[in-house]
Subunit: 414 residues, 4 copies
């Protein structure tokens, strides 16, 4: 069937192995393969499709823009589409939350944003070292990889990844150790041997790392530690921003204002490549052109991004529905956790079910695919079922998907 | 006019300063600002728009695809659109040239491709060091930046960039020194102190570096040196591939088959983000998922990429017209060079005019903008006018643009 | 008085500022300045003078050797003096303790030995990363500095020190955290982001770090952790070996056999530069000449080293007297600790008194110098009085020195 | 015979394999093995024995000092012996040459001095990168190794050595390329990719690298290049200083005053470990104690060093005799070079004879040993006979040694 993928595409391909079919069309919560079989999608482009596949509201604007020959490729030139995006981002995202950030377009992917953030904090502070967290995932380019935890991915670098030190993420020791005991002692002790950090980079909820959610109090503690020790705080909201956990930014509940925020994935709205680096104005010390990139001005993505902000972030209805749907998912996961000795994880619509036996999650994912549901695994040993439907999933679709998850887990463990 | 750009966009913005207007629409060789003023575009998205803005042939296919709800975001899942692209790339690009490469989709930008290439050569060889060339440009993420020459860009890294050693590019010493004298001696002398290189990474024509063209004989010499000393050869064809110098790949004239080739920019055809890493089959040692990325499967870009290959690379007519147009540009540049003591540079439709006085090129670019022509500068001191019209530029547009260049140079130097 | 030191010697000079006089002669536990004033020396060359100054037993052999024109400088040639040393080291040190080590002469200082150890563990394992410990001190050359904790010393490197990760030393959290909780979790979690370590390097008692003594059980736990995770264990016994804590090696009490042991300072016996790297035979994978150095064969030091081993390590009398004297020092320090709210630290004749107020120890050292006793401070904030008399100190000298310490502390704090 | 060396000493041992006997006594130009066989020493402790073995003038002072219980081990305390050394160094070395340097005692070996120099230039300039030269040798600790050329030694580091870039040494291209063409272009071109260097480190004559002598004009050119581009100049005079090439410092003929000079080996006079780092006063920016070391104050070595300066550097007689003897050696080497198609190399009493066939020099060294002459090989492939007798060698001894060299070469090549 997919001969040319096997013969011509590199061995690095991965999801095409997990879901061995050839997809053709998509809409809302569904992907359809070339035979017309529909798959309920609880993966949502790894968080890039919070508003569903080919969202018709955005699609209309996108086609209009293309039809009227709006600028497609714009480097970082000023365009009408970019202006509309900036205005809408200011009006619907920043101002209502009392946030004050300059916006950088660092290249159209999450790792571009992370790389720009790392460069900037080093420039601001004159220090090299970054604090990352256990099981963090920030991307595959060399800078981002150095703050990523996964040893297989790190091994791919081919050179020592050395300018970052990992610290334990929230609850890494199951409550045995007070928050930041280790980190703070290392910072305060001038003989600790810890290189003075420029910044910490943190996900408020680790998606790839196993759906590990941090508590607001932990994030606040981290923010205070940063301020006390002259470290900047980067929140990588590439996967968990744009409403995935409920609020637009995943850090809102903690009441903090990170120095730098990385956004990508769903910021484009329609699954088109786009990324933003948000920078507190006092930290915007870039020279013109000091960081650039060919596709930083992906104007069709500005158009769909703008419309997504208008449609979904003019009020708090999406946030509320995400939280409600997330709670419903949580209930089912708790039920499964209790029944099968697993652990229910996550918040909002970033949810997971973790198993002691590291073979289970993969089998459940496969069983779900057989039942026409796409769910992925995550965690260092792929031991967690990762459940991330589009935020626009209907209640019926949600229940349907949850039932497949129940059945799939049952088929594996019963 | 562009208030929000100044207040909300980061100081890193650059082209919006060079061309201080707000663009709205585009078509073929023209960009139009929001007042309807048309600008003849001899910049072509830094090489991302070889087929012009909003090419109608590609546009039709793109809209059709969006209309019928083809998969937009596909990670690295198999899709119908990706299959069509792979088949067309094989049929119209690889097979006619007798090339045998596996195709990796490393993330949708040039720097993603370069990062994947660097990781792969290190994995293959078990060595860390890379040989780059003077005035190379490969991208802004940490791995790519380490093989980039420009000191301002390098400074942005904030950490020492240390795993690469620069070697002199072709004709770096104006013929005073035999090719590879230095490089080869360093390789052969076990006491030279040069770390054993995993690979060389080279552009056959340096765009950002100042439109420095290498001779086919030099490239062949480099290829032979690589084979003799167990180094892999990466050609970064991000800017110069897809026909910019005439043939599809810029290295075809040299008759070599690099181990790895990086493609991006115009491969998507329509200015949409897409990148490829081509890998000789014996070097495709990736583990599944060892390098990944959210936007590696940008399906709308597959659609326009496929159509571009069908429209422009089914025969050699584009290659021939590019060479012819390039020669025409070359004539005018030689004329200007002779008149003003400048240097005409480049080949195909990647052309440049270099000035001793490093202030001139910037002034010419400004004078051209005043005359409604977009041309950029390049080179370490921005001392070269960089002339890269769409390959689809008409003869009339070409002559019109060349006349503006003549006038602009005259206005600055006369 | 010491004009030429101020005008000609570099600003880096340090002890000459602490003890501002010009020393001329020395004997046993005393240094005499050029005015003939005697100073009781409870510093002992930072551990290089365990057998006292100009020990007459060794002096006799040294003069005999020089008189008879024994080889002075011998690179790593075989010499009669080296043979005698190797035989005696085998007979009096290795065999009685059931230890089996190959002996490398890596250059005549502690940091040479540490550098050779770090190179060797990287060669053996093919890994780059080293685990060091908080408040470790291993030397001033670049490799050793990278595993040293002190931030002022580290800052002197002028480049990022990146191939080591510090872990908490024994009792770093005052018993709040189980031993190795953090370290072991980081090793076991493939997503922790910790680079796989080649080795740990540890002092069993940190001298420069503030007289921090580790428990035998902690060392055993560390040794087991190393074996479990394929890390080698380097014990840096440069300051604490040669009987400073009682037994010849400071790790004997723990009952472990480290993979590599670094010795220097008192191994030469008479204060002459000499260093050894002890290597388990299966790890002796050096190529001939892969690590070399001009002064690795300091033959006069072999002579005094041999005689020291014969005089002091043919039986366990020195070990016993050191432990007894150490206990006497401990009693006095406990008495002072109780009286002044300080902390008594250390074991054997490596003892310390730590103060909360980081100004106190420096003042006590100065007060002691005024009373003709040399004691240094240590710890990250120089907050600990470091008490290290020669092991050959007489009971009278010991009591005299302890009385001066009492008086000095009293003069500062009363 | 030397059982214990084979069983107990590490495989890293090297010279003991080259000269397989056990040495016992030494005097002047001779080493004697335990059977009483005398070997004429044209190696001189790799340059550590410029005044011969156990020089009686120095021996007398050394024994007197030990007999009268002069301070042996002095860290960096002020001592009478150190004062005498500093005064004599000022009076007999610095002042007569119009040189103004502060003196650091960085630890007693050459590599300690090099490490201190590298740290200091990085601190002064705030830059990380160092320029080294092809076939340089600076030592085995990590910093020094990174500026050393030999690939076998570099491989021993076990981590990438990355903060230095090698440049071609004088005449590296046999006159095909103007001096500094490459280096200067890389410095001047802001797009070259060369990290801005803190300093260059250079030997004026490379001993280990194959007795490669640089011309005074080349050194002056390098010095001027340093001044023009804000780089500091470190001369590593560890092996070639103290009169080896004639004048006390090997750079005197070039008429330059390097920013930092590294001295060790023969500075102690008697083969005892001692090293100096000379620093122009304006560069002496060390914090007290920022670089330290246990054996930096080796007082017996101060005594012999002082006496050596008094005996040999109160006038220019040694310099003159070294030059004369060197010329005599040169004549013989030229004669051999002409006869056997070899290359005569070096200046002063650092001389070499290089062979195309890389097996020859090793065989000659062995043939010489059979004839009771010690000569070593050097160069990246050990292709050069390295001839470095003590500067105090008598004319008879010199002729005798040269005759053995003639015979040995003849025995190998005839």
């Amino acid at each position: 069937m997919n001969d040319i993928f096997a013969t011509l595409e590199s061995e690095v391909r991965s999801y095409s192995r997990t879901w061995p079919t050839v997809f053709d069309r998509a809409g809302g919560s569904y992907l359809y393969d070339e035979d017309g079989t529909g798959y309920l999608d609880f993966f949502a482009g790894a968080g890039a499709l919070n508003y569903g596949h080919n969202n018709p509201l955005l699609k209309r604007k996108l086609i209009e823009y293309i039809e009227r020959d709006g600028v497609t490729h714009g480097l970082d030139q000023s365009t009408v589409a970019k202006r509309a995006f900036l205005e809408t981002f200011r009006d619907n995202v920043l101002e209502p939350r009392g946030l004050n950030y300059k916006v950088q377009f660092p290249g159209p992917t999450g790792t571009n944003s992370v790389e720009s953030a790392l460069k900037l904090v080093r420039k601001i502070t004159g220090r090299e070292s970054i604090i990352s967290f256990t099981n963090a995932f920030h991307g595959m380019t060399l800078g981002s990889l150095s703050v990523t935890g996964n040893s297989m991915k790190r091994g791919g670098a081919g050179i020592p990844l050395v300018h970052a030190t990992p610290m334990p993420y929230d609850d890494y020791f199951d409550g045995q150790v007070p928050d930041f005991l280790y980190f703070e002692k290392m910072l305060e002790d001038s003989g600790s041997g810890l290189n003075e950090p420029a910044a910490v980079i943190v996900e408020t909820l680790q998606g790839e790392g196993g759906i590990n959610s941090s508590r607001p109090a932990w994030l606040r503690g981290l923010y205070e530690l940063c301020q006390k020790h002259g470290m900047l705080m980067i929140v990588d909201d590439v996967q968990m921003g744009c409403g995935r956990t409920g609020p637009f930014f995943s850090f809102e509940e903690a009441g903090i204002q990170p120095d730098i925020v990385c956004l990508s994935k769903s910021i484009g709205g329609y699954g088109l490549p786009l990324a933003l680096t948000l920078i507190k104005p006092e930290h915007d010390v870039w020279e013109p052109g000091e960081h650039n990139g060919t596709f930083r001005g992906n104007n069709p993505a500005f158009v769909t991004a703008t419309e997504a902000l208008k449609q979904y972030w003019a009020d708090d209805s999406l946030e509320k529905s995400t939280i409600a749907k997330g709670e419903r998912v949580g209930e089912v996961l708790e039920e499964l956790a209790a029944k099968y000795g697993a652990v229910a994880k996550g918040r909002g619509l970033a949810r997971g079910l973790g198993f002691e036996d590291t073979d289970v999650a993969g089998k459940v994912s496969k069983a779900a695919f057989d039942r026409k549901l796409l769910v992925e695994t995550s965690g260092p040993s792929s031991e967690v079922i990762k459940i991330m439907p589009p935020l626009t999933v209907s209640d019926d679709e949600l229940e349907q998907g949850l039932q497949i998850i129940r059945d799939s887990v049952h088929s594996v463990l019963a």
